[in-house]
Symmetry: C2
Subunit: 328 residues, 2 copies
């Protein structure tokens, strides 16, 4: 399902990151970083809430608005019941839509917001996502075997929060179109290989986006998936070629950009809902503002993994949503 | 945040229910019922998935369409990672938005769909929610003390799935307007008193809906909250009176309608995302089609409860979304 927009802009963004992301190659592109995972809070969950609140404070300061000026807050995260988003929304006290499509949540939120903005149903909104390495490990991996090595296809959940302010007021970054993806399950149940789980969903959304916009892949200066990781990236390239005859050349994946995969112990790269928007809002937008990139297609990919279902020997479904961004 | 619609209809719905709901007073208003909680599946989670799929099969048969005719599937449920919705979406293979606002999810989905339909961004959509007593108990209450009595303010999660088909084609039930609610936290951390947690959020959304539509409470033939339960209902009535000077007369709550509170052992009544839409699509729509009710305001209320945060002594935030339904 593809939408075209004439009238929707990402006016500003705010990004905050954890200690591992700080040691990565993109450190200078983020608004704030933390040296440890607790942020002086008593629990990791409360640290994740604090990260989102910090990103919102930075965003409000950039756009010179208060929460009373905002029509709608759209947010999701990895925690059960999207807990971090809920508690932030509780403090914000503005109309709130909670969403969940795992690591595809960032683009899901942008699409819901963009559709309402395009038709002037709202005058502005803030779209947010977060992830926290320790809250995600605690929830999805616990109990972890002592000293158990992880396979190299494992990804490393990014710690950070990314908030974007969207409105109809023209600015540098325009949302030009978007595609809501379908859920694809290729029968994989390996929780340590999310790249393989998500790559076919990413391919499906990319293919339908091109068909429905009647575009060639070369229309885009960059196709950016997030977050397939080192191995998922290769699967996507092969899959697009063999399944659809489409050659991905100007292509990269946010999982492999946010960390230095040679220097940092992050296996196949970053993951978590925050990974794709952190790289996009920080690094890619800076390139777009300098006009080094004009047309970027961001494909946020999510593994809809439930530990309960994996324990029941079910395979893992995945989804990807696409958004076309233009430098103005 | 209130939206007005000229052009959005709920053309058809499908409702399936579990054994306890079958013993309730509304049994005749649902499309299908089950005599036990497993539905011949090996696990409760797979039974919940089956319930949604059954409701979709019934809906497709009623609207005489297949999944290839549907632009968008919007769904959420109570399970971590909204698992039931994800696995159903995986089998459906149509564009999918996963959403979560606990028991307010049903109206959240209707609002997202209605906004897109109003402006012809999609031609139709299916909005679904489900809940299952045993999956919810397993997830939120486990471990349960043997023989431990529950307080009377406890609610009983409804087993069922409710799917609605929305389009621009005029039919009996029109979505006339809607209000996205704010998250309200009144400092309660009693997981056995969700009615008290949610009533102030319900009051807040009801108040803003009336303000933003410039309506008196008497505009509606029925204000229907779902699901505050027996005690939450009283709190809402008192709160509306003392806080806003609004007297709720033509008012009821779905938690107290779906079960016979005198005969069935369900404490303060039903809960779960399926409760409000089951009562609305089954019982209320039948009254609307007979013109016994013309204007109904449905307020779906959700307790954004996370066991993790309650264990950290945090209080429970709540939200409510409102949708105004008109019999045509």
């Amino acid at each position: 399902m593809t939408f075209k927009y004439k009238n929707v802009y990402i006016n500003d963004t705010a990004t905050v990151i954890g200690p591992d992301e700080k040691k990565g190659p993109l450190n200078n592109y983020f608004d704030k970083s933390y040296d440890e995972l607790y942020l002086n809070k008593k629990t990791f969950e409360q640290a994740e809430i604090k990260m989102i609140e910090d990103s919102l404070d930075i965003l409000f300061s950039k756009i010179q608005k208060t929460r009373f000026d905002i029509d709608l807050f759209i947010s999701g995260d990895l925690l059960n019941q999207i807990t971090s988003s809920n508690y932030v929304a509780s403090n914000l006290k503005i109309p709130y839509l909670g969403i969940y499509n795992a690591c595809a949540t960032s683009v899901e939120g942008l699409i819901i917001g963009a559709n309402m903005l395009e038709k002037n149903q709202i005058k502005n909104c803030i779209c947010n996502v977060s992830s926290h390495n320790a809250t995600a490990e605690k929830q999805f991996r616990y109990p972890v075997e002592y000293g158990g090595p992880k396979p190299k296809t494992t990804t490393f959940t990014v710690t950070g929060a990314a908030s974007a302010y969207l409105s109809n007021n023209p600015s540098n970054i325009k949302i030009e179109s978007a595609t809501i993806g379908r859920v694809i399950d290729m029968g994989i149940n390996d929780v340590y290989n999310m790249g393989a789980v998500m790559a076919p969903a990413c391919a499906d959304t990319l293919y339908y986006h091109l068909i429905e916009t009647k575009r060639d892949i070369d229309y885009y200066d960059l196709v950016l998936s997030g977050d397939l990781g080192k191995y998922g990236k290769r699967i996507l390239i092969n899959y697009m070629k063999t399944e659809y005859g489409i050659i991905l050349k100007k292509y990269d994946d946010t999982a492999t950009i946010i960390f230095d995969l040679n220097e940092q112990n992050v296996y196949a790269g970053g993951s978590g809902p925050a990974c794709a928007p952190l790289v996009t809002y920080g690094y890619i937008f800076s390139k777009m503002r300098k006009k080094e990139l004009k047309k970027v297609l961001l494909l946020a990919t999510g593994a809809l993994m439930s530990s309960t279902m994996v324990n029941q020997k079910m395979t893992i479904p995945a989804i990807a949503h696409a958004i076309s961004l233009e430098a103005i």
